[in-house]
Amino acid sequence: MLMPRVAFWTYLAKEIKRYLKVMNQTVLTPVVNTSLYLLIFGVSMGENIQLSSGVSYLAFLIPGLVMMACLNNAFQNSSSSLISGKFSGDLEDLKIVPIHSLEILWALCIGGLTRGLMVSSVTFLVGQTFHYLTAGSFIPLHQPLLLIYFLIIGGLSFALLGISVAFWAQNFDQLSAVGAFVLTPLIFLGGVFYSIENLAPFWQKITVINPLLYLINGVRYGIIGVSDVPLSMAFLVSFLGFVFFFSIAYVSLKKSSYKRW
């Protein structure tokens, strides 16, 4: 496949239209959730939290929540699309129509990324509003290109992870178990709410093996110019993570069953 064909654009359009049809559930609900985090942790409790980098806790929290929104929604979009397709029989169509595996893969992960970017953008705007209301100014973007890079590579990686998990899962229960027992702990312990410099040395060593730490700090550097990890490591881990998730998702797509449940 050298150029995306009509089948690819069709599937991508279908994926985007699918989540836009249920905006309340797919876009507005996550925005409300992250807004509550901003209100409770950033505005309410944030005034009592001091960071050595000198930035306010609200400014520190906003990039973490932006990335969390992107990753969660990218994962949920691709996984729920495939799982509901397994349930309704929609997935069988993908096996029957003349579309390449790579077209399916890219349409699903770009679809997930667009939802991730949409929710994270709204989260960022809400965060900026809170910052303006509390500090009287907006947060100037430190490195917009870096911010975009980390959001895109993180969103794509998590959408790819969603594809793999959805093909692996035999029921809804297994899918939600991965979300609850693996992804949420990794995201929450990846530095969304705190800086690792505040942790004891033992927990710092544990935290640095969490790949999400690098993605979240990449976004944090892009927005406020502060990171707990070297930027070169963040680049390397995010890129290797993408290659890894892409390979796993591709194998899942080629080897797994498309039959309905």
Binding site: K17, S88, D90, E92, P98, K259
Partner: protein, 317 residues
Amino acid sequence: MNQDVSKSVPVQKSADIPLSVQGVSKYYGEFKALDKVEFNLEKGEIFGLLGPNGAGKTTLISAIVDLEKASSGDIFVFGEKVGRGLQTKRDIGFVPQEVINHGYFNVEEILTFHSGFYGIRNNKKRIEELLQRLALWEHKNKKVKQLSGGMKRRLMIAKALVHTPKLFLLDEPTAGVDIELRNSLWEFVVELKNQGTTVLLTTHYLEEAQELCDRVGILRNGVLEKMGHTKDLIDELSNRKLVIDLNGKAPSGFSHPCLEKQEKLEGVDGDRLVFKLPKGTEMGSIINSLGFSLDSIKDIQTEEGTLEEVFLSVLNS
């Protein structure tokens, strides 16, 4: 000519052969769902794949559309091997046994997306034509869950035809469908055949298969037991019947010495005698052997054999 498929069927992979199934077997663990199935379809025919539940019909269709991988053997669609490249998928239109829900999309959106999957960017004319022909035009803005059972079936058919396929596969398209809709669907299938489309279908309605199918194949436990032209199979494996109604002037019942000698007598019901007419039997010879005078016969009818008899004969053999 009908074929006893226990002998090998010559297989071809020419671009002129719509479908060539070559020694296809499918295992699920130890269970053998298909056992070296071989047959070819001829261009523009309607082929009925018959068999009891669990015979392997859906498994075979799933292998043809690449939904299942055959454990061994090859399938060719117009000379292209299934599973290698996308061309076979472009040539096939497939109506699955179960209706697909499609979540939040309405009928028109479903057909537009499906056209896009086949590389057709603007397919409004064809979609409108199908919606009109299948009486779905008024329902084009409804979601699948808002459609009746019959409408859902028709939508599945419209979906399979958006790209005007050369080979049309229907897996029990009339299961659970009322007689009126069944008839209109079969009419539509004949219309497609007349336009040059090759059709393979599975159905449990043997009377309809007899009417519709040029050829049939009978699967049992994954083995294609019998295949041939519908009429030839009926001639070979079923009996015509001769029904003679007596008017009371002749003695009736098994006690009559003439009837006791009649090996072909199938039954006696009052004044009605029913005889089997195996291939080659002359009606006159039976009537003469009875020795009844013509004025004792009220009516004589013949009944043709049925595909159902063929089906049962193959399954019970």
